[in-house]
Subunit: 157 residues, 3 copies
Amino acid sequence: MEQMILWFELHQLQQQYISALDNDRLEQWADFFTEECVYEIVPRENEDAGLPIGIIYCDSKRMLRDRVLSLRHANIYEVHSYRHMTSGMQIRVIDADTVETESSYVVVQTLQDGESFVYQAGRYLDVVVRTPDGWRYKAKRVIYDTSRVATLLATPI
Amino acid sequence: MEQMILWFELHQLQQQYISALDNDRLEQWADFFTEECVYEIVPRENEDAGLPIGIIYCDSKRMLRDRVLSLRHANIYEVHSYRHMTSGMQIRVIDADTVETESSYVVVQTLQDGESFVYQAGRYLDVVVRTPDGWRYKAKRVIYDTSRVATLLATPI
Amino acid sequence: MEQMILWFELHQLQQQYISALDNDRLEQWADFFTEECVYEIVPRENEDAGLPIGIIYCDSKRMLRDRVLSLRHANIYEVHSYRHMTSGMQIRVIDADTVETESSYVVVQTLQDGESFVYQAGRYLDVVVRTPDGWRYKAKRVIYDTSRVATLLATPI
């Protein structure tokens, strides 16, 4: 039962996270993280080679907020919508207030021409911690399989 | 715990709904709705512009049944199969017997030539009510991102 | 509540199964099955026509292990990664220790050129039994919609 409740809480966090991204509530994005945090997007070949070099690296909630602000103001990217699907969440309990999770994701994108296609697939490696406000991401590493990423990786995954 | 049970019940309803559609049990489709109900499919640009004009609009269980009957008899559409994936379900409790939910969906289609591709992506906006037979859809609005929809939208989403 | 616990246990089994396949832990694959088991991959048109002829048929855990061993050694297939998404799991209780489940799946593949696409869609028909080690597959039938399967079906679905 305890195991089911833990799964449910982490599943809810993930579903809220992707729901915010998929329904253009980007201003909520930073709030899924702790003040000090790591968010990065890394191609799989770098991860496999032990190279920590990714295409996005943020290490505080403030950087995440700034990122969304500039997205909203700069508006350099083509209008699009995402739909995130996730699966296979595995949970590794570190201590009473810390877990590591691994999940697969697939993002389907629709551009202004109106066609929908698989935009990116990969996995999330998360460190999730219990805070007074509920579970939050202390680290989220997005490791993508898809190296031919079609547009600027402007919006969060 | 109560929150988890509510989530589970609504999740089950959704999984049964898409399982019926994906496994050609269309005759069950209307039974997921209340007698008086709304089912509509609306392109995202109309939704965003506040235009209530969609490509399908049914406002009773009987209309849903008629729709399936004509699909079975007319047989005008190319044989295909759907696989619905859903994610990100958010629940808003209205009262003890009514909730509103929002979910993302992606439909993968396989045509007779045997290729599978993303057919449509979008979101469900549902009003779900508790009845003596369990939770049922009082309203299901299907708002699709994909404006280049490849075939006649003959079968329900 | 009992229904939710059963769902949770079967859901966890499925998520562990696809997580092992998607993260290249193929050596764990056979352990999701009982010693005597059936694993087969059948095209939908054969299933619909009542023809039991598929493209893969294994009837013991040992055969599953051998399959992975030859995959690792022969290395004849192009390097790729899978991401399995599942949905719509329906559960039919046969007796206290046996259930049948049906689920939809979509597999997204990324090849070395770095593009991700829908590789295969279909459904799982499973017989799952309770063992001292937890729930295990006694039978897993993979019935695919997609008849134009792009590469050798070398790795398990």
